[in-house]
């Protein structure tokens, strides 16, 4: 029956039927299930955010099985650490999770400080908090930009990188480096913030809430974002806890577990901030939780800057921290301490410590074993990316491969942290 009023082309189109092709295809399947197709997703694929290889079993477009194959970026950092004195470990260990370098340094320095039993001055703790939270914003911005890119939004990446540049400028001001700054030291921080840093930081924190609002205006109600993220990759809270998942992924299910609140370190209990949580734990919740965390981090930075105590920025214990440069010309003891610290490093009493902190991706724990010498006998990083990656399989099973891309983006694994 031809419908009146349609063109010749549409009439031809209506006459096409796929029945013979479908019949042909069903001949090669086993009847109930279509043939499974095993494909390698990665290790070199832009959507895997690094060299992650996923072995995916596909039935049509549906993921039936998945196993991550990792180790392509294994650089043996934990082994390298055993050959370096404690203060030389910091730049090496910063390169594990390369988007959260302040956190790596903080976890390691925290563990060593607890082993040595050194007190960190309040100013150093506040300066650490400022930089940790800046780093958290920076990490979330990079996550947001690249994840949106995976979903097909190009422009948001440039907006996110624009703000990230300002944070890197701030890092450059305070430490001289934009990435892998080596700012956090055992006993405090490397240097006090320079003149002009506070003003620049204030400008940044004043602007950031508007920026987050703008990202939200682009993405929150965007139809493509909603369709790709809502109700995809749902895993319930208990499964995630069993898999050891922490951080924004766990908070998206409504569990407000955050080490900054639960077991405060580095004066986090001085600040007033909220823990954003989601409701059902789908990809959209993960996105909204991280976006809200940027705002909370901005609040913490403002409070830390307001209440920044006076005093030393690193411990005055000369056995741990280098003496001030000007003392070297006048004090023999300072020269001796400087020489001993630079050549041998400081010795750490024997013992074992596991020191966990809240990184942008969850619980980042550093295990340090000391045998009494100036080099650690074992350094292990419990990296949240490595543990969280195990949750990818339950998240994407029996979903579409397009959802796999979105879920992987919202999982936010950093391969440098996965492989170490």
């Amino acid at each position: 029956m031809t419908t009146p009023g349609i063109s010749e082309y549409r009439r031809q189109e209506e006459s096409i039927t796929l029945a013979p092709i479908e019949q042909q295809l069903s001949g090669v399947t086993d009847g109930e299930r279509h043939e499974l197709l095993t494909i390698n997703f990665g290790p070199h694929h832009p959507a895997t955010h690094g060299v992650l290889r996923l072995l995916v079993q596909l039935e049509g477009e549906v993921v039936r099985d998945l196993s991550p194959i990792i180790g392509y970026l294994h650089t043996g950092i934990e082994k390298t650490c055993e050959d370096k004195s404690y203060w030389k470990v910091i730049p090496v260990i910063e390169r594990m999770d390369y988007l959260a370098y302040y956190f790596n340094a903080m976890a390691f320095c925290g563990a060593v400080e607890r082993l040595v039993g050194v007190e960190v001055p309040p100013r150093a703790q506040y300066l650490r908090v400022i930089h940790l939270e800046l780093n958290r914003i920076m990490s979330h911005l990079f996550w947001l930009g690249t994840s949106a890119l995976d979903l097909g939004a190009m422009s948001i990446l440039w907006y996110c990188l624009r703000e990230r540049e300002q944070i890197l400028d701030l890092f450059e001001m305070s430490s001289g480096q934009r990435m892998h700054t080596r700012y956090i030291q055992v006993g405090g921080v490397f240097e006090d913030i320079p003149p002009g840093f506070a003003e620049k930081l204030r400008q940044f924190t004043a602007k950031m809430p508007q920026r987050v609002e703008q990202y939200g205006a682009i993405l929150n109600k965007n139809e493509i974002v909603l369709k790709r993220l809502c109700n995809t990759g749902i895993v319930d809270e208990q499964t995630l806890l069993g898999l050891g998942v922490t951080g924004p992924l766990l908070r998206a299910t409504g569990n407000p577990w955050d080490l900054r609140k639960a077991a405060p370190y580095s004066s986090y209990d001085h600040f007033d901030f909220k823990i954003p949580v989601g409701s059902i734990g789908d990809n959209y919740d993960r996105y909204r939780v991280r976006l809200a965390e940027i705002l909370e981090s901005t609040k913490i930075i403002d409070q830390a800057l307001d209440g920044l105590p006076e005093g030393p920025y690193i411990t005055t214990d000369r056995k741990i921290a280098l003496p001030p440069r000007h003392e070297l010309a006048t004090s023999m003891e300072a020269l001796i301490h400087h020489f001993k610290l630079v050549t041998e490093g400081f010795r750490v009493p024997p013992g074992e410590i596991y020191y966990p902190i809240e990184s942008p991706r969850g619980e980042l724990g550093c295990f340090v074993r000391s045998d009494g010498s100036a080099k650690p006998a074992r350094v292990h990083m419990r990296d949240p990316s490595f543990v969280n990656l195990q949750a990818l399989r339950p998240m994407v099973l029996d979903g579409y491969i397009a959802d796999l891309i979105a879920t992987l983006a919202m999982l936010d694994p950093i391969i440098g942290g996965v492989d170490r």
């Binding site: 990792i70 055993e82 069993g242 898999l243 077991a263 596991y354 295990f367 543990v387």
Partner: protein, 169 residues
């Protein structure tokens, strides 16, 4: 954190269930550690899991070279309700090191046990898929052991590739 008394109470309860299970309690820098018998480690972890330490934060290996039993497997447990942390440590001998897997109790142990197997050579009995995870599948040795040399790997360049056996594979 359980204080020193709390740690002793936990150890006492575990010893009541199995006298041989807890070998030693260590309280260091406000943190409790239970040194347990490697054969009974799984039982201890199951009991602690019932007590509320239901979150396995981390599982990692340590090499205590040259002491014997040489290798250590450490379980960092977390009680999220009471915000308590507790370390359970089991020591295994370096000849045929093996310990029972806890993947069925804590699914998060899957990759972490594979990592300890890969880097230290501890075999986890009952692990569903015990393969190397970070090192290549055909790698020989367990690089995180203390007697494994740093820099023992020859670097391949075009001028010396023929000196490395099976470089073309």
């Amino acid at each position: 954190m359980p204080d020193a008394t709390g740690l002793e109470l936990i150890a006492q309860d575990l010893r009541e269930a199995d006298a041989e299970s807890v070998l030693e309690t260590i309280y260091f820098r406000d943190h409790g550690t239970l040194l347990v018998d490697a054969d009974g480690a799984r039982e201890v972890l199951a009991r602690l899991r019932e007590r509320g330490f239901s979150f396995l934060a981390s599982l990692h290996g340590v090499d205590y070279y040259p002491e014997e039993p040489r290798l250590g497997v450490l379980y960092e447990l977390l009680d999220m309700q009471r915000v308590d942390r507790l370390t359970v440590k089991a020591r295994v001998h370096s000849e045929a090191p093996s310990i029972a897997s806890v993947v069925d109790l804590f699914p998060t142990a899957d990759h972490q046990e594979r990592e300890v197997y890969d880097l230290f050579g501890v075999v986890f009995e009952g692990h569903p898929d015990l393969r190397r995870i970070l090192m290549p599948e055909d790698y020989e040795g367990h690089p995180q052991r203390r007697d494994f040399p740093i820099g023992g790997e020859p670097v391949l360049f075009t001028y010396n590739e023929h000196t490395v056996p099976r470089y073309y594979e």
